[in-house]
Symmetry: C2
Subunit: 144 residues, 2 copies
DNA sequence: ACGTTACATGTAACTGTATTACATAGCGTT
DNA sequence: AACGCTATGTAATACAGTTACATGTAACGT
């Protein structure tokens, strides 16, 4: 790996141990960011680590999302690391996105999940995955 | 208006009567489609009606969405006409999207909406708008 | 009638997001 | 060594959305 001051893949990972180099770089970048990043944001931050093309980032993101280590925010075309370090989450995950400061709060609500199951059951709809994103102002920014 | 075989704005509108020409064209296109359309899909269908640039479509979509006559599906980068003809809906609107046939089912669930209100209230989060999209297979496609 | 304001429109160029196609490299198995 | 599998590298392209600027048009006040 090219010289770097901050080698995520080398020692900075407390996540899964079997990430590939690019997956480690991308997850490290997301984990250290205080807000969501677009794929191109990630790419820019990783140029000095040798990444050059969007596809390298998208490939890593796909794998990370498969494993639940990262999530995509559809309404932002951006990505975040999973807030649950060892990702024990199941079922629906929702995100509250502050439009002022950009912070994202990830949460799971079993009741909403169940309610969704009821709707789907009644319709015979087979749910594969659900995205739920709330836009607005976090408590901090609403106060200001 | 340039000659056209299918003048939505002229006679085809049962929606609001005060839509502009482009808004009428775009809403007509969405309403006649049996699935979601991207902005560029819409543009292609409206070239013969004189539209030439993406911006013309995006501008119309913005106005239609402001009025609740159209919705954006974030996970698809696509748009649909509101299923409720005169759009009496309030609060959270959810979409079930079939990944097989592409059909979209729009519904509102007050309980989910309320549950969301509880979460937001507890956190001091001021909700501006919520997007909820379920991906999976509709009853028809699940059967096949 | 004239200028002013407000809003809808038209056009081009551009930025940002994501995928396709093809080539290369590493590793475990046989 | 040859094979299959997965990860990588690179370029080119497709798709989505915005910025900047010019024009049209109808309502309003003077």
């Amino acid at each position: 790996m090219a010289g770097m001051g901050d080698d995520h893949a080398g020692h900075d990972h407390v996540w899964a141990d079997d990430l590939t180099k690019n997956q480690g770089l991308v997850l490290g970048t997301l984990a250290h960011s205080d807000g969501p990043l677009s794929a191109y944001d990630i790419l820019d931050k990783l140029r000095e680590d040798g990444l050059r093309a969007p596809l390298q980032v998208y490939r890593a993101l796909d794998k990370l999302m498969e494993r639940g280590l990262a999530h995509r925010l559809e309404s932002l075309n951006a990505f975040v690391a999973c807030a649950d370090a060892n990702c024990h989450r199941r079922g629906l995950i929702a995100f509250a996105i502050c439009e002022d400061c950009g912070k994202v709060d990830e949460f799971a609500d079993p009741l909403i999940d169940e309610r969704l199951g009821v709707w789907a059951g009644a319709r015979g709809f087979a749910v594969a995955r659900t995205t739920m994103e709330i836009r607005g102002k976090c408590a901090n920014c609403a106060a200001a």
